[in-house]
């Protein structure tokens, strides 16, 4: 097992290097190159620009720049933002809690809805419930997420005023994760949690609709496959109650592929972060990323892409390993 995990991790290293190269080349080849942020400043002379380029080693050969850059990324030196002059790692760490709060809550709720729906759909195959759910999953799966977010904001925030239209805290409360936030949180825990919950509702719905549709379909087909196996028929022939059959005999094998799928969908959720955060002005990494694009703030952009890619690779490994652990048929 250990050998399998080590091999799996070793395979991921060239992929991570490849990702860093891809991202680096996008920065190099895009108009203006890494210096694009300064190209827009009319008060800067060509000499000043050349001096910056020289200072940063941007006049060296591209490959040499890449190697230098890669090793400093590796050492944890991700540079400073062109805009705020703060270290990129600090900027990202400040924004990470908001993103994680949104992602993890959405992730749990998504599974709590998708799995029962899929099982229900499979057990009542071709019934009216199944057909309605099938049509709904098609619609959910085809949903342009950002548009759904807009419609939710219009209906439930702008019109009905049930939920706030965006942000993570009320304007009069301390900003989320700021120096004053946590003392305030400790002083009024109920108000703070209530406010967070109210701000979470619409972003979470936006974030999970597509995934719930996809995951419930996946659960449905996995359940259908198991329920048609011979041993289930045997269990029925023995006169076991349908509920017992479903819970004890069918559910566990049907959940096997689903567990892998669950690990694989977390990265997809991270991708959805940029969409949801931009619609709801949720102060997480996605919003930070979007604000850094216009400014051509490459250190921030690259740092975020790099971190997310690493996340994705780690979850791919976790998916492979859990699958190997829980499925006794797999020999590694």
């Amino acid at each position: 097992m250990t050998k399998f995990i080590i091999r799996r991790i070793l395979i991921s290293i060239p992929v991570l290097i490849g990702i860093s190269f891809l991202v680096f080349m996008i920065m190099q080849l895009a108009p203006g190159g890494p210096m694009a942020a300064f190209g827009q400043n009319p008060r800067m002379t060509a000499e000043q620009r050349a001096a910056i380029a020289h200072n940063w080693g941007l006049d060296k050969p591209v490959l040499e720049q890449y190697v230098t850059w890669f090793f400093s990324m590796f050492r944890g030196d991700w540079g400073t933002s062109f805009v705020t002059r703060q270290p990129v790692t600090q900027l990202i760490l400040d924004r990470l809690p908001a993103t994680l709060l949104l992602m993890l809550t959405a992730y749990i709720i998504q599974q709590l809805i998708a799995l029962p729906l899929g099982i229900l759909s499979a057990l009542k195959r071709y019934s009216l419930t199944d057909k309605v759910l099938t049509v709904l999953t098609y619609i959910g799966f085809s949903m342009p997420t950002f548009w759904l977010g807009l419609i939710l904001v219009y209906t439930f925030a702008a019109n009905l005023k049930w939920f706030p239209s965006g942000q993570i805290t009320n304007p009069r409360d301390p900003a989320f994760n700021s120096a004053t936030y946590w003392p305030w949180f400790a002083a009024n825990p109920l108000t703070a949690i209530g406010s967070l919950a109210a701000h979470l509702v619409l972003p979470i719905i936006t974030l999970i609709v597509v995934n719930v549709a996809a995951d419930s379909r996946y659960m449905r087909s996995s359940m259908l496959e198991t329920i048609n196996q011979d041993y289930i028929r045997t269990a029925r022939a023995k006169g076991l109650k349908e509920g017992t059959i479903v819970r004890r005999h069918a559910l566990r094998p049907a959940l096997l592929p689903v567990v892998t799928n669950i690990a694989l969908t977390l990265p997809a959720l991270l991708g959805g972060a940029v969409v949801t955060e931009s619609i709801f002005q949720w102060p997480g990494m996605g919003l930070l990323f979007i604000s850094s694009i216009t400014a051509a703030d490459y250190p921030v952009m690259i740092g975020i892409v790099f971190l997310l890619s690493a996340f994705i690779l780690v979850f791919n490994i976790i998916a492979d390993v859990t699958y190997a652990i829980i499925d006794p048929r797999i020999r590694y």
Binding site: P14, V15, G18, I19, L22, V23, I26, M27, L29, A30, P31, G32, A36, F38, G39, Q40, N41, P42, R43, M44, A46, R49, Y138, I139, F141, S142, M143, P144, T145, F146, W147, L150, I151, V153, Y154, A158, S165, P267, L270, G271, V274, V275, S278, I279, F289, I290, I293, A296, M301, I302, I304, V305, L308, S309, I312, L313, N316
Partner: protein, 327 residues
């Protein structure tokens, strides 16, 4: 669609079907067989009709609906008008007819998404066949490259690559960038970028089909007859991978429509004066306070309809093109 009605005479045997000793059979062409299976998939037929209508809107609509161009003279009178007979989908904050935005956006959105899909399918098919056919180190290298693209957060990298869509800052740092120029850049480069980032899914699929096809006898016999690698790959193997690529390609178009719409909505995709469905509803949420829901609703609703139709078609194609589903 029935190709021909053939008469097969069976001279030696006793007449079975009619007095003349002939059995009438109908030869069904492959296409007809496909159509019979496709027709059975109700949602696919519905999707096809819906998609056909959307194509008609994209092709003919611009001859009926005037192009949405900001007119400073009438802008304030026409601002934020709710849906009416004159403007069925209402108008936006700039006094533009939302129906016009939808109709003109359909052209760009569909064109771009299909083009990006073609790029992804072309690159993915070639790499997939080469990778599966040669195996060994070629396969290992190509598939690691595919892994790189598959492990990258797509939307983030697309946004990063949107830097290509901006014009290079002119030497000396100041001056405005040509508007026409940047919209032309966006319509050419954006589908290329999307295609070049999404090919690995196709490549993986094609590779797996190639791996099984290359083991079959007709490939061995072609090789025995002295066919070169290139000929085997693109004459013998390629026809076998087309069906799955068609299915995947269909679904990719739907995915591209949503991707493009989001990028353009943020302002990092198609650049105005060209208009896609994404640019059509950019900034629309700012008018929610004025009660304007139609501006955001209609372009997005058309995105949903299109993607839904495409997903139905893709599912129907999958069922109809897979010979194992033959009933």
């Amino acid at each position: 669609m029935i190709d021909s009605t053939q008469k097969i005479t069976t001279p030696a045997q006793a007449p079975r079907n009619n007095d003349a000793g002939e059995i009438t059979t109908q030869t069904r062409s492959q296409a007809y067989e496909f159509w019979l299976r496709y027709r059975r998939h109700q949602m696919a037929v519905f999707g096809t009709i819906l998609f056909g209508l959307l194509i008609l809107i994209a092709l003919l609509g611009p001859f009926i609906v005037p192009e949405p161009v900001v007119n400073t003279a009438t802008m304030f009178q026409l601002k934020n008008k709710p849906p009416s007979l004159e403007h069925p989908f209402g108008t936006n904050v700039n006094g533009l007819d939302v129906l016009g935005l939808v109709v003109y956006g359909a052209r760009i959105s569909l064109f771009l998404s299909v083009l990006a899909m073609l790029v992804a399918c072309a690159v993915g098919t070639v790499i997939g066949i080469v990778s599966g056919y040669f195996g060994s180190w070629v396969d290992a290298v190509l598939m690691r490259i595919a892994d790189v693209f598959l492990s990258v957060p797509l939307i983030f990298v697309l946004l990063l690559a949107s830097r290509f869509l901006v014009n290079p800052p002119p030497e000396g740092g100041t001056g405005s960038n040509g508007v026409e120029d940047s919209s032309l850049r966006s319509i050419i480069l954006l589908p290329l970028i999307i295609g070049l980032l999404t090919w690995p899914a196709v490549a993986r699929l094609v590779r797996s089909v190639t791996l099984s096809v290359k083991q079959q006898e007709f490939v061995t016999s072609a090789r025995a007859l002295g066919s070169k690698d290139g000929r085997i790959m693109f004459l013998h193997i390629l026809p076998n991978v087309i069906n799955p690529v068609v299915v995947a390609g269909t679904l990719i178009v739907g995915q591209n429509i949503v991707l493009e719409a989001f990028l353009s909505y943020l302002g990092y995709g198609i650049q105005i004066p060209l208009r896609s469905w994404g640019t059509a509803l950019a900034q629309s949420q700012n008018e929610f306070v004025n009660g304007n829901w139609w501006w955001a609703f209609f372009p997005g609703f058309f995105i949903l309809l299109t993607v839904l139709a495409i997903n139905f078609i893709g599912d129907g194609l999958r069922d109809a093109l897979d010979p194992r589903n033959k009933r």
